[in-house]
Amino acid sequence: MLATIPASVLSGITGHPVSVEVHVSVGLPTFTVVGLPDAACREARDRVRAALLSSGVKWPPGRITVNLAPSGIRKEGPGLDLAIAMGVLVADDQLPAEALADTAFLAELGLDGCLRAVPGVLPQVRCMEANAIVVAPESAAEAALASGPVVRAPSTLQELLSALRGEEAWPDPPVSGLANARDEAVDLADVRGQHMARLGLEVAAAGGHHLLMIGPPGAGKTMLARRLPGLLPPLDESTAIEATMVHSATGLDLPSSGLIRRAPWQAPHHSASMIALVGGGSRTLRPGAVSCAHGGVLFLDEMGEFAPQALDALRQPLEEGVIRVNRATAAASFPARFLLVGAMNPCPCGELGQPGMCRCTPLARLRYARRLSGPLLDRFDLRIHVGRPEVSDLFDAPPGESSAEVRKRVDRARAAARERGAASNSELPDDTLDHLAPLDPDAKSLFSHAIAEGRLTARGFQRVRRVALTLADLAGQEPPLTGGIVAEALFMRTEPVTVAHDPWSLPNARP
């Protein structure tokens, strides 16, 4: 008369084990679900009943009560459908309880009895302690990543029942591959000219430095940024699992192997709200774009058009690599270690021509410059200007280096960073820099000039130093950092918006 089936629900990007308790007793025929189910979960009643009936199973006449324990947490989504169906059958003695011992269920049911995939299978499987787990065939590869329970993936309720009753063998898990093989079709070799931007991408990939590209519309900023994930090394084990959990919980496509190995790419539109960017929500806490870009690239096109509040919310994840979202009813923390790539115009008119052609007033430029707050701007180690490609580059020049060639140098630089004890140079702590990145006299004088000019803060100085270290790694130079390398790094940190060609305003004019 009573059955208990292990299952789970998703909250944020973590799973919580849930026991589905089903009680069937004599009485007027009713079917109630208790234990804080949401709408989708309560509708399970109708789906389960229809699925069982169309699979040729008798619906128990009587009073059916389903309790989702623990009753205190909210249950969301249709992932408990299958577990409820199994509970009903066991409680009605249509299935022997022993056949289901230590087996968890995680799938949505169709009215015809088919099993459908639900988001967040990986984190949910990881939280359960069952010996076997039944999921929809589409989720099989993902569930197997948890490397815990045996994964069963029948495609219909009928297949599942006959396997449980021992009438037939479990169906083979679906063959992965082929169907989802979307390979990166974009390669750096397609880019003609744009040597400054190529250098910027290479340094960003090698050192993990955030990159801001400033250029007129049509210069190819998006096209260039799209090629950055192809330069990044594959994700390491733990990052890959974290990224897969986020993508799975958010319901994004996963690669056919189930595990995300290639650096992800997220490019939210500039109308994105702060919640969409960093995650959150009123009741269901969902990861935002920063978490979906975990281990990969977050590309913000037209950065000046984003809501300033949304942009400033990026500061904490940029600093800490995680985002903690707190609401009155729930709290969650999502991984968010990403490479930020921004693109913006040099001024409101786009500055199509040379100096003297811009139609913006000094005030308009000043306002445009203020769209990005100083603290956020300071986190871009690389700020480069991207112009339209030179005509001679478009027609006569040989194709540029391919992504594979650049990646070799990137890998070398990353290996050098690992020897220093960090995943990339941008993560080296400040206090190690004096020892790891000493400066030669030329480099010192360049730095002191830039600081005296007010172009560089103390933090900016350390950041440029890390970029210079990455440049040295790429060029295969040993420390100390030379003047040439430091000059290059300084040049790659220009001011994004020229406020005015007005160097005489205050400081120089003092008598």
């Binding site: 001024c347 100096p355 003297g356 007005d502 008598p511």
Partner: protein
């Protein structure tokens, strides 16, 4: 209530005889929308002190006619009742702002026989400064690096040759010219401003403003507290043109304040010179129009001195910048005197991008080039 305010306002007016005529002029200039033309029209009716008393009373047809609009006259009436003239006068004295009425000894002689002499001028600094030869250096606020370099150079060399540099303390060319004149430590600069001298405008030129007030002369038609309203600037330009023996336009868009100054200078038979620029730069459009109309070109301070009838300037200081290294030399050659971006320099010089980047930064630190946004420009003057 109105009766009481009236009574209060009368109390300082009792000592009206003790206040000089300049105090009453300052008060009249403080009335809303009173520029040079309205002030002249008002003064044709009565003496300043009498005018003030009349404004406090019932409306008089001739005064309403000067105001043009009834509600403007109402504003004058209210201001005349509410404003404490003695207090305004004290504030001018406290700020060290001198007030000179037309026809009094303190008034700048050069403005006396002008087409439209200001009825009253306010000044800060040494009024004697306005005596020697004077050249106005004017131009756009939206200038290029080239323009501000040339303006700085002209300002410096002319000041060194003993010529007072007159400009309007605006952003861009004006500021560069004043900065150059101050840099030379030669003849003191003269700035004609559009608003009251209690507040620097634009705010970013605060430092320059103070330096000019200390070492040169600030001049204007606006009393303390007058905001920088739009209509004040064309009037300001006419004083610049009136003060200058020669007007040099460094960079100007086809229509701009500088072109207005040129028109005022032409009306006063002043020599106008224009600095040629790149023909594709819209910031030089106005200059090129002037040149096409037959105005003389200004290439350096010598051209200006020639127009003034003076001999050549003193030697330009030596170039103290360190010689560029090998890559730097190649970059400078590839750059030329037109702005270019890093990509263009790479194509022209045949260097690697990383070499270009390093060389440009080195040149910038040494003062050979300036980087503004994407553009790299060669700098003419050592700093």
């Amino acid at each position: 209530m109105p009766a009481r305010r009236f009574a209060l306002a009368r109390i300082p007016a009792e000592g009206a005889e003790e206040l000089p005529v300049e105090a009453w002029l300052a008060a009249l200039a403080s009335l809303p929308a009173v520029g040079p033309a309205r002030l002249r029209a008002l003064l044709a009716i009565d003496t300043p002190a009498e005018l003030w008393t009349r404004l406090q009373g019932p409306p008089l047809p001739e005064l309403v006619e000067v105001a043009g609009k009834r509600d403007l006259y109402e504003q004058w009436h209210r201001t005349a009742i509410g404003l404490d003239v003695a207090c305004l006068w004290t504030r001018h004295r406290e700020h060290g702002v001198g007030v000179a009425a037309l026809g009094t000894p303190g008034y700048p002689a050069v403005l006396c026989d002008d087409l439209e002499p200001p009825a009253v001028v306010f000044h800060q600094g040494d009024p004697q400064v306005a005596h020697g030869p004077r050249v106005a250096i004017v131009g756009t606020r939206r200038c290029t690096r080239y323009g501000s370099d040339v303006a700085f150079e002209l300002g410096r060399d002319l000041a060194m040759a003993g010529v007072g540099v007159v400009s309007g303390l605006a952003l861009g060319i004006d500021a560069a010219a004043h900065a150059g004149a101050l840099d030379a430590k030669g003849a003191p600069p003269i700035a004609v401003v559009g608003n009251g001298m209690d507040k620097a405008y634009p705010e970013r030129n605060r430092g320059l403003w103070r330096a000019v007030a200390e070492r040169g002369l600030l001049l204007g038609e606006a009393p303390l507290g007058a905001p920088p309203e739009r209509w004040r600037f064309p009037a300001r330009n006419r004083i610049i043109a009136a003060l200058a023996d020669v007007v040099v336009v460094v960079e100007s868009h086809a229509s701009g304040g500088a072109m207005h100054t040129v028109a005022e200078a032409a009306a006063r038979n002043r020599v106008v010179l224009a600095v040629p620029g790149p023909v594709r730069s819209s910031a030089s459009d106005g200059c090129h129009e002037l040149l096409a109309d037959g105005c003389g070109p200004c290439r350096d301070a010598d051209d200006v001195l020639l127009a003034l009838g003076m001999s050549g300037a003193e030697a330009v200081p030596l170039d103290s910048r360190p010689d560029p290294d090998e890559f730097g030399q190649q970059v400078l050659e590839a750059l030329g005197w037109q702005p270019a971006d890093a990509e263009q320099i790479r194509v022209r010089s045949g260097l690697e991008m990383s070499q270009v980047a390093g060389a440009v930064e080195g040149l910038r630190a040494a003062g050979w080039v300036a980087v503004s946004g994407r553009w790299i420009e060669r700098v003419g003057i050592p700093r």
